[in-house]
Symmetry: C2
Subunit: 136 residues, 2 copies
Amino acid sequence: MTIVKKIHHIAVVVEDFEAALGFWRDALGLELTHIEDVPKQKVQVAFLPLGESEIELVKPTDPEAGIARFLEKSGPGMHHICVGVDDIVAKLDELKEKGIRLINEAPLLGEGGRRYAFIHPKSTHGVLVELYEIPA
Amino acid sequence: MTIVKKIHHIAVVVEDFEAALGFWRDALGLELTHIEDVPKQKVQVAFLPLGESEIELVKPTDPEAGIARFLEKSGPGMHHICVGVDDIVAKLDELKEKGIRLINEAPLLGEGGRRYAFIHPKSTHGVLVELYEIPA
């Protein structure tokens, strides 16, 4: 079986970076390393490392973004858990064999060529789970 | 400033352990170390370590449990993020000074005498955050 290594990040949907950073950075004391534009998903992401993981604050840049619809329906809050895996293609195959429903049957390519895929919350009992490949 | 060390756990509310473990243990491949009764909170908790963190599956044992009401209102899914801190009393003081609203102004005592406290989601922009003291 492939290895699930760690929580890579927790994605938190926010309406406004400054307000959210008022808690995560200024009050809780995490460091904000950088903010990235992810035009493909019509979002901006603020990265705050925490141990071997990160808190990622995600803000829609367009009312048509999936995240904007989430925000409208559910308000700001936790969006998904991302776990780091050693071999994403093998892990997706294992999940499919076990009858797990995937949002992405094959990995997508993110920044820097890193591969990721989402598992459907129907198969996880309500949690949106992302897999992210972390090479050994 | 006090130190926030890591994501200690992510709490996921479930209706049924076997169904949820069908994903987290049997499909994703995490190890289930043990299941604990927490009678004070009228829940049982299943612990699945993941890197330096844990996924904790929380199941109500009584319809009056806070978690049972969450389940009824929102369905199964992510409930809170718990972060490990070095000095919880100092951290709670820092948060209060910064105007952060706390659910627990003083730490509660958990299993084994470990101290924890919850921050109100009004002050975190929609995320229920728990602090858990991890001695140095």
